[in-house]
Amino acid sequence: MSCHELSSPTTLGNKHELIKVAIVGNPNVGKSALFNKLTGGNAWVGNWPGVTVEKKTGRIVIEGHEVELVDLPGIYGLTPYSLDEVIARKFILEERPRIVIQVINATNLERNLYLTIQLLEMNVKLIIALNMIDLAEKEGLEIDINGLMNQLNILIIPTIAVKEVGVDNLTKAIIMELNSPPPFFKINYGPEIEEAIQRIERILDKCEIADVGANSRWIAIHLLEDDKDIEELFRKRGLEDVLRKVVEIKRDLQTRLGESIEVLMIEKRYQYILSLTQKYVKRRHVKESLTTFTDRLDRILTHPILGLMIFISTLYLLFKFSFDVASPLTNLLDVLISGHVHSFLKTLPLPTIISSLLADGVLQGVGILLIFIPNLFFLFLGISFLEDTGYLARVTFLSDKWMNKIGLSGRVIIPLLIGFGCNVPAILSTRVLGDDRDRRLTMLIIPFMSCSARLPIYLLFTLVFFKENQMLVILSIYFIGVTTAIITALLFNKLLFKGQTSGYVMDMPPYLIPSVGNIFAKSWERIKSFLVRAGSIIVIMMVIIWALSIFGPEGYLGVEALRNPDLLSRSWIASFSKLIEPLFKPFNWDWRVISSLLFGFVAKEVVVSSLSVLYNVEEADLSTVLSTSFTPLTAYSLMVFTLLYTPCMATAATLRSEIGLKNTIFIIIYELFIAYIMAYLVLSIGGLLL
C-alpha cells in the first residue's frame, strides 16, 4: 500500500459493527454539555491507553446502529500543546473514528473554523454542531447555514446543547453520514507552497507509512509545518532520509518565500475562513449584546483591587456553602455507617475474624469514602457553577500577577482551589496546564492545600483547646498551608525548576447562566475520579492497617485489639510507633498519637477515629482525654503537622500515576520533613511567646 491511501478503507455500515464517533471542539464551546445530552448521561470514564488522561465514552443505539461516542479534550488546532491535546489528536489520527462531530461556538465562527479546516484536510467525515446558535442571534449574527454547508460539503446542524435543541437532528446526521464518502477538501496555499507539497508527496509515495492515518498531502503539509510528532514517527520507522529531503525542500522554499512557511500556511487558512464568513455571515448591530454586558461586568470583576476583593468573598462563600450544606448529610452518613451498618455486620453469624474484617476493615474504608462525598460534591458543585458562568476564567486572570511572583501562571489557581476539596481531582486537573514545569511544581504544592478530610481533625482539637476562637484558629491552619505552598514554590523555583512560567493562553467566554444539568454532571465526574482512584486504595489500606492492628510481634492478638488499648499496644502498629517515638520527643506525642498519624496516611480524617480507639474512649468523650494529654500549644503543633505531613494514600497514588514513583516518594519525604520543621517551629516560637 502506498502512502496516500487511507489506512482503513471505508466499509459500509453493517448493523452489528460498533461505530466510533469522536466529539471535538475548542474549549468553551459546550462540547461536554452536548456529549451529555447525546449520551443521555450514560457515559463512563476510563483511561486512555498508556496515559492517565480520562477518556469519556458513551454508547447509544441509533436506528439499530450501535454508536460509541468519545468526548475528546478541547483543542484549538491539530498541533498539540498540552497533554490533553496530544490525546485528542492521537485519537483522530490513530483510531480513525468513522465520524467526527466538531462542536462550534457560533458566536466565534472564525476561530472555530480553523479546527474545521484542519479536520477537513485530514479527510475525516465531519459533522458540525453549530452550538449556541441562540447566542449568535442575540449578538446580531446571521449565519447562512445552507450556504456554508454547500460550500464545505458537510452537514451543519444548529444546536443549543444546554436546551437540548438540535440533538435529535445530530443523531440523525450521524446515520446519514455513515455511508457517504469522505469529503474531498483542499486549500490552495499558493504556487510556491503547493509545489513543495507536491515534491514531498512524491517522496512519500515511495515509502511505507500507510498506517499514519492520513493522506499523503496532509502528511506533507504537516512536515512543512515542522510537526514534531510526524517527524518523530518517521524517525522511528528509520525514514530519516525522507526527513532530510524534506528539510532540503523546506530550505529551498524558505529562501523563495522569505517568510516563515508556518505563518504563511496558517494565514492562508485564515484567509480562506474570512472569505467564508464574509460570504455567509451577516452582522447586524445590536444595542445590548452579550459582549457589551460581559465587558461591563468585567470592568468590575477583573479590576485589580475590586476584582480581587470580590474573588476573596466568593471564595469564602464557596467554602461556607459547601461545608454548611454538606454537614447534615455527612453526620447522617457517619451515624449510618459507623453505627447501624457496623453493628449489623457484627451480628452476622460469621467467624469473628471475618465479621471484624468486614466491619472494621472494609466497611471502615468504604465509610471514609462515603463520608467525603457530600462535602466534596457541594464544593465541586460550587466550583463547576463558577466555571460555567465564566467566572473562573476571570479568576485565572486576577491571580496571574500573584502567581507569577511564585513562578507559576494564573492557570494554576483552579487546581489549587479544587485541592481544598480533595487533592486527587486537583492533581488530575493540572493536565490542562501546557507547561510541564508548571504542572510538576503545582503537583508539589497541591498537598499543602488543606483538603476537606483534614477539617475533622482541626474541628476536634479547636473544640477542646480554642473554643473561643475556633474559626480563627482553623483559618490560621489553612493560612499556614498556603504559606508553606508559597515557600515551597519559591524554594523549588530556585533549586529545581529554574526559570519562569511560560504563562497561559485562555479563552475568555462571555458570562452565561449555567445549565443545572451540566453542573451536576461535571461535579459528579470529579467525584467519580476521586472514587475510582481513591476507592480501592483506601479500602485495601484500611484492611492492611486492620491486620497490622490485630497481629503483633507475638502473633495473633484477636479482633478485640481494635477496642482494647492494652492489646492494641502489643500490635505491629504500636510496636512500630514506639520504635519511632524518640523522633517525636520534642513534641511530647506518645505512641498513640504516632499510630493515629500512621493511620492518617490512608486518609487524614482517620486520625480522629484512631485516636478514639487508641485512647479507648468514644469519639464524643475524646475531648476530655485530649485535654489532659495535650496543651493548646502541642495541640496546635499537631494540627500543623497533620496539615502538612505527606499527601494521603489516594493522593500519593494519583501522583504516582502522573509523575512516577520516584517523584512521589520525593514529595512524601519532602512533605514529612517540612511538617516536622513547621510543627517544631510552632512549638518553639509558641513556647517563647507563652
Partner: protein, 87 residues
C-alpha cells in the same frame, strides 16, 4: 513606559506594557515553538490587529480581535508578543 500618552509608543513593545484601550499590531512572537504555534492557531499571527481590553501592568492582559475573540494571556505570554501601536 512610565508616561502614557499615545505618542510615546514608537517602535516595538511587549504587549504586556500596552495600556488598555489601545489597538496594536502583532509584529513577532518570541517564545518556544509550542506557545508560538498555539498563538498562531488562535489567530494571533504577525500582522493581526488586536485591541487591549484589560492590562493589569506587570500582570496578564485581556485582548480582543475578530478572529481570536476575547482571550486572556498570562504575563509570561504577553511579554513575549512584540507589537507596534496603531494610531
Amino acid at each position: 513606559m512610565g508616561d502614557n500618552s499615545a505618542d510615546t509608543y514608537t517602535g516595538l513593545f511587549p504587549l504586556s506594557i500596552i495600556e488598555e484601550g489601545k489597538t496594536v499590531k502583532v509584529v513577532k512572537i518570541i517564545g518556544g515553538r509550542g506557545l508560538v504555534r498555539r498563538l498562531y492557531e488562535i489567530g494571533l499571527l504577525p500582522g493581526a490587529e488586536i485591541e487591549v481590553v484589560r492590562n493589569s501592568k506587570h500582570g496578564p492582559v485581556i485582548i480582543r480581535n475578530k478572529i481570536t475573540g476575547t482571550f486572556s494571556l498570562g504575563y509570561g505570554v504577553a511579554k513575549k508578543i512584540m507589537v507596534e501601536v496603531m494610531q
